[in-house]
């Protein structure tokens, strides 16, 4: 019997291999299925960290749903995490406001001409009513920067629950989707119900 063969016959080594074989499975799960994260900062303020002024060190703990990004499912109103386009070390949380082909009226930091979102890009904004560093600053971002969807608030126990897929008031009415404009041109403005 060779040396390696006897080495792998020890019970302790066998147990170690049996445990270590699960490590890549766990890493795959946290990278592509679900993982936990904590949210700092106030750019998504009514949704995450609503009372940041009274408790500045507070972090919300959230559940990230990664499989929906792995299958390229992006919807308007989803809260997502993305690598900041200006700083590749910084992971930020924003809400998707518009997808490719939509017409967006941007807010102050960018010029007020409507922008058509190019293919494979989206328009993200923070929920906070104050200015945040979002697409109004850096323009439409590629969908490849998005790493996960924020699905559930886990930690402050009273606020636990699903993160709702709903645009904040400041983002409503500034986006015209391709389908909407097509239907409006077809059936008049009666479809417009907001």
């Amino acid at each position: 019997m060779s040396k390696a063969g006897t080495f792998f016959r020890h019970k302790a080594v066998k147990d170690a291999v049996r445990v270590l074989a699960w490590v890549p499975v766990g890493i795959f799960f946290t990278r592509h299925v679900y993982s936990l994260a904590s949210v700092t900062g106030g750019s998504m303020q009514p949704t995450f960290n609503p009372n940041l002024n009274s408790s500045p060190l507070h972090h919300d703990v959230v559940l990230l749903e990664r499989w929906s990004v792995a299958i390229n499912r992006f919807r308007r109103g989803d809260v997502v995490t993305l690598w900041s386009p200006q700083n590749p070390e910084l992971l930020t949380t924003k809400r998707i406001v518009a997808l490719e082909g939509d017409l967006v009226n941007p807010l102050p930091p960018s010029p007020p001409t409507p922008i058509r979102i190019p293919p494979g890009h989206c328009w993200v904004e923070g929920d906070s009513k104050y200015q945040t560093r979002d697409s109004n600053t850096y323009g439409p971002i590629p969908l490849g920067l998005i790493t996960s969807r924020v699905a559930y608030i886990l930690w402050p126990w009273p606020r636990r629950g699903l993160v709702e897929n709903e645009l904040p008031t400041k983002s409503k009415g500034r986006v015209r989707t391709l389908g909407e404009t097509f239907l409006q041109s077809r059936f008049g403005a009666s479809l417009n119900n907001d």
Binding site: P24, I27, R31, N72, N87, E89, P119, G120, Y138, P142
Partner: protein, 226 residues
């Protein structure tokens, strides 16, 4: 009764399919390990398309891709010291379609001033006519007609020549972005079309070509002294 037929029947009657659950678990573990190695250490990939033509062929070259050159132990992503450099061939998520990746060369890093369209001269087009390909000049609307060798071409006449998209336009690569361009300028969808690409989209560096004539991919950008 020791005929080969009976021996064979004995073998088949003794065969039991492997237990289902342990096999599935082993398969999952092996696949997850392979995935972990391919996303963190090295990966063999097939690169097709015309855009890198002198370096990689359009028929699909097998190349060695690794995210390790841009990896640093103290943060999850790139730090300032090991970001993509000018001349690296990188694999990045396509800005036009998040489910696809592109293989391009980094030509500019943050802060560089770059002309969007560096090509000059007549616009030419590749015509594929029943399998026979050849280049033709794109007919130009304005011919500089009626002038002989020794007459002066005015600046306005030169300006009236049709320009390529982005010719003479200069952009500054913003913070945290790189400028990706294919080696085959005449047939490549790259930063000239979709603009600078965030560094977080860069997935790895192409180290070597493995399958047809293996070779290291070298940095073929030339430094010009001032």
């Amino acid at each position: 009764m020791a005929s080969p037929y009976f021996r064979l029947r004995n073998v088949f009657s003794r065969y039991r399919p492997p237990p289902l659950l342990p096999t599935t678990i082993r398969t999952i573990q092996i696949l997850a390990t392979l995935h972990l190695v391919s996303t963190t250490l090295v990966e063999l990939r097939i690169c097709t398309g015309f855009s890198m033509l002198p370096t990689l062929s359009q028929h699909g070259d097998c190349v060695l891709v690794s995210p390790l050159p841009y990896w640093s132990p103290f943060s999850e992503k790139h730090t300032r010291s090991n970001r993509p450099k000018r001349g690296d061939v990188v694999v990045a998520t396509s800005p036009m379609d998040p489910s696809q990746t592109v293989c391009k060369r980094v030509v500019g890093i943050e802060g560089d001033l770059i002309e969007i369209e560096p090509r000059r001269g007549n616009q030419r087009k590749w015509i594929d006519n029943a399998g026979v390909g050849f280049m033709v000049d794109v007919p130009q609307d304005i011919e500089l007609e009626g002038h002989d060798e020794n007459s002066h071409i005015s600046h306005e006449e030169l300006m009236r020549k049709p320009k390529r998209n982005g010719e003479g336009q200069w952009v500054k690569v913003p913070k945290g972005h790189v400028w990706l361009v294919g080696d085959n300028l005449s047939n490549s969808t790259d930063s000239r079309k979709y603009g600078p690409v965030p560094i977080a989209m860069v997935k790895g560096k192409v180290l070597a070509r493995i399958y047809p004539n293996p070779a290291w991919i070298e940095n073929n950008l030339r430094q010009i002294d001032e």
